[in-house]
Amino acid sequence: MDLSFPLLYLLIPYVGFLLVIAMYSVFTFYHLVRFGVKGPAFFIVMGVFLAGSLILTMGSVASLAQFDWTTPVNLSSILQVPSASNLGL
């Protein structure tokens, strides 16, 4: 039996992870804005946080975009169980 699926399916957990990252980033941003102490350090912290998050997310998406995600993944080739004949029995 030939079981295969497009590589694209593997992006589902990745997108889920990005959503978690986005959710926590929003909470962090909110806390910093709501409870942070007004001053120059505050704006530096916010700038580093926003710039770092943006650069890493865009870099991550750009590095993944160069692959062909329509490539089929053949399950039988991944889950190859050694048969008795393969073991020479």
């Binding site: 990252i21 909470f27 806390h31 942070g36 007004k38 505050f42 912290v45 770092g52 997310t57």
Partner: protein
């Protein structure tokens, strides 16, 4: 956003004397951890690129490796920043009237408490260990007249100076408002040691 010139319930003649966060060593550890956890896999990938490149050009393994690396880096960034937020939002403020203790525990727990200087009975500074002694940071414990209430300034720079400043402010506050605590102490009979 908190403004040090406009604290909640601030009195007209109240001024901020000390604004304290944990010692820089606390977030330096965080930066070092972030750097090590980022650089070790990156440098390893560069060193062993000859062995890694065939896997990266594989149509199935390449995208998976790239995705795992992305998740790893984003995860480290997020955890580091969550820890930094925890550090950044832990604040102790000493004014000419009161002590404020603001602590952030994770993202969803925040404790804000304050006490008037008149309620302070004992201030203790503590530097414990080789690294805290070298970098001059430690704890300051503030005991109030209520038996169980105790403020703790954790890992702050120059705890001895902070202790001295608080004691001075308490004395000044007593002079301004009258020594109620001292009068109460004098009224209590002295106990002889056994």
């Amino acid at each position: 956003m908190m403004n040090l010139k406009m604290l909640p319930n601030q009195q007209p003649d109240e001024n901020v004397v000390l604004f304290l966060r944990r010692h820089w060593f606390a977030w330096a550890k965080l930066i070092v951890s972030f750097t090590v956890m980022t650089m070790v896999p990156l440098v390893s990938a560069i060193i062993f690129w000859d062995k890694l490149s065939p896997w990266m050009s594989h149509p199935v393994v390449g995208p998976i490796l790239s995705m795992v690396a992305s998740i790893y880096l984003l995860g480290i960034w997020l955890v580091t920043f969550l820890e930094f937020t925890d550090y950044y939002l832990d604040v102790w403020i000493v004014t000419t009237e009161r002590v404020m203790n603001i602590e952030q525990n994770g993202l969803f727990k925040r404790t804000m408490s304050e006490m008037h200087l008149a309620n302070i009975q004992d201030v203790t500074s503590e530097v414990n260990g080789m690294i805290p002694t070298f970098f001059k940071y430690g704890q300051v414990h503030i005991q109030t007249s209520a038996e169980k209430l105790r403020f703790e300034f954790k890992n702050i720079a120059n705890p001895d100076q902070v202790k001295e400043t608080i004691i001075r402010l308490v004395d000044e506050d007593k002079k301004r408002h009258g020594d109620i605590g001292g009068a109460m102490k004098q009224a209590e009979p002295m106990k002889k040691p056994a």
